[in-house]
Subunit: 324 residues, 2 copies
Amino acid sequence: MADNVTIITVARRAQVSRQTVSNVLNTPHLVREETRERVRRAIEELGYRANQAARQVRTGRSQTLAVRIEPTRDGINSLVLDRFLHGLTVAAASVGYRVMLYAAADDDAEVATYADLLAAYDLDAFVLTDTHHGDIRTSWLAERGVPFVTFGRPWGAPESHPWVDVDGAAGTAAATRRLLDIGHERIGFLGWPPGNAVGDDRRAGWASTVGPEFADLSRFTADDVAEGEAAARDLLSIPDAPTALVCASDSLAAGAFAATRGTGVAVIGFDDTPVAGVLGLTSVAQPLTEAAARCMDLLTGVLDGGITPEPVLLQPTLVIRESA
Amino acid sequence: MADNVTIITVARRAQVSRQTVSNVLNTPHLVREETRERVRRAIEELGYRANQAARQVRTGRSQTLAVRIEPTRDGINSLVLDRFLHGLTVAAASVGYRVMLYAAADDDAEVATYADLLAAYDLDAFVLTDTHHGDIRTSWLAERGVPFVTFGRPWGAPESHPWVDVDGAAGTAAATRRLLDIGHERIGFLGWPPGNAVGDDRRAGWASTVGPEFADLSRFTADDVAEGEAAARDLLSIPDAPTALVCASDSLAAGAFAATRGTGVAVIGFDDTPVAGVLGLTSVAQPLTEAAARCMDLLTGVLDGGITPEPVLLQPTLVIRESA
DNA sequence: TGCGATGATTGGATCGTTCAAGTTGTGTGA
DNA sequence: TCACACAACTTGAACGATCCAATCATCGCA
């Protein structure tokens, strides 16, 4: 469509120079009000939009964030990323940024693409998800001074960077309290094998709420429905078996749900995925839109202010359904 | 990190002019082999990556596709987009394109942002998902000559554009045949209210396989688990009730599954979402990675060759689980 | 030997924007 | 009256690439 509307077209129409138009857009206080209005009108009438690529060539800033899109990992939980991405796109757009996707098979491959992405696209920042123990990505970026935010705490890492996370322990604690409130006294926990930071955190929320005397009411297994079911059966077959289960994920909860059908044992899952809705599972919900917005807030702090903002820890909420 | 490696740095290192370096990258056949190798070595040694923004300013092409990211709509099915996005990002990267996200509340809002996106970012193409009857988006883009591909047929639209879709009717037909094969004779269908093109298509696959005499073995309802359960109960309470159900979505299938528990009635869902995995539902799976790759193929046809490629209709597969 | 064709390489102009350094005009204070 | 500060605006250069036309060799052929 011969998009010939450049800053010069606008300048001619408003009878000013290129630079004045540029000033109206970027540093309006330098321009007299009357002139500013005239330029604004010309922009409006011509439907002018600043060419981001040209701006980027000159300034070296792309107004672009990069986010890795994961292949579906374990099925159920990838839905979390989907909602986070949507929130991030909206939040970014509202402050003039855009979101670009990249794919990588694993962390090593991801680090290998950083250099390419940065050199070719002048990315302003990265948003990392799923941080974990010994994450090589954060140190690579930090060493090179590349701005980034993580959705997930810097588990065990000494160096600190801006991050947003949801308090998983608080989530499982709330789930446990809910079960206590509705009369359960022996509450078990179904989680992932120790060593996974997120999983350990979720277990800790349960453990601190029930107290140390119930430590043996927990089982660990891979994040899989069938394994969850088996572990739940095992846990329910012991003497003084629990009458309620808190689970580290909706996958495990779905398994537990199958194992407890008809027994009246209560089950609570984590992440409030569609599976929870379908099964009628009470589940801990992460405020993903809010998390995305906060990531963007932190990033604007880093990018515009040059400050290192304080991390943000958000509280999850419990979505109550029939299962507990 | 003063990323000062530009085309000139490379040129100096290889003792050639800027233009020769550019030629090595874009039109290598114009450069003598010996020179080409020398330049390639210099590029390698310096870790040079062409600056996309600068290229874009000159050529007007951004090597960027835009895809809308949806808020979670009805819960279960949004997972489809997630996997499609991943496939598209990978396919795009392999041919030098990147994927940018944008959000829009509805089709009108989406059309309103097109002009902005195009002018500001020189997008090369759009990938649209969820096409439907009377889609205003395709006509807007087609009128202005903006390249695009849809994942979804141009339902009922006269004008034709490149598209990729999965044969929903073939999917429900395969599901129906599967049920016939394992001995069922009265097979019902649970779908969405007529008027939704995708839904009508899925119904047609069932209808043509069972034959017209079974037309009253179908029920329509919103895409919701509870409504699906109610509709299934209704269908199963009639005289000569069906012994198996084909459903237009996993949401409906999840409802049907709840309604039929313990009755031995078989159920097949659609989209092979995690819910199907959890419930053990047999479900029709769309080849999303393949679909994304084909979208990219069509786009390169449009963008590089200027041709209007033939549409692609992919076949879904049936993932067999315990429910049928 | 001279000339045109072809292949390989080069230098200037350009894309649309912002930065940096100018130019103009007006008002203030000594 | 003159110097000076300051606000408002303009002009030239630059960002890093590609397009285009020009140059320089090389070679075959009359």
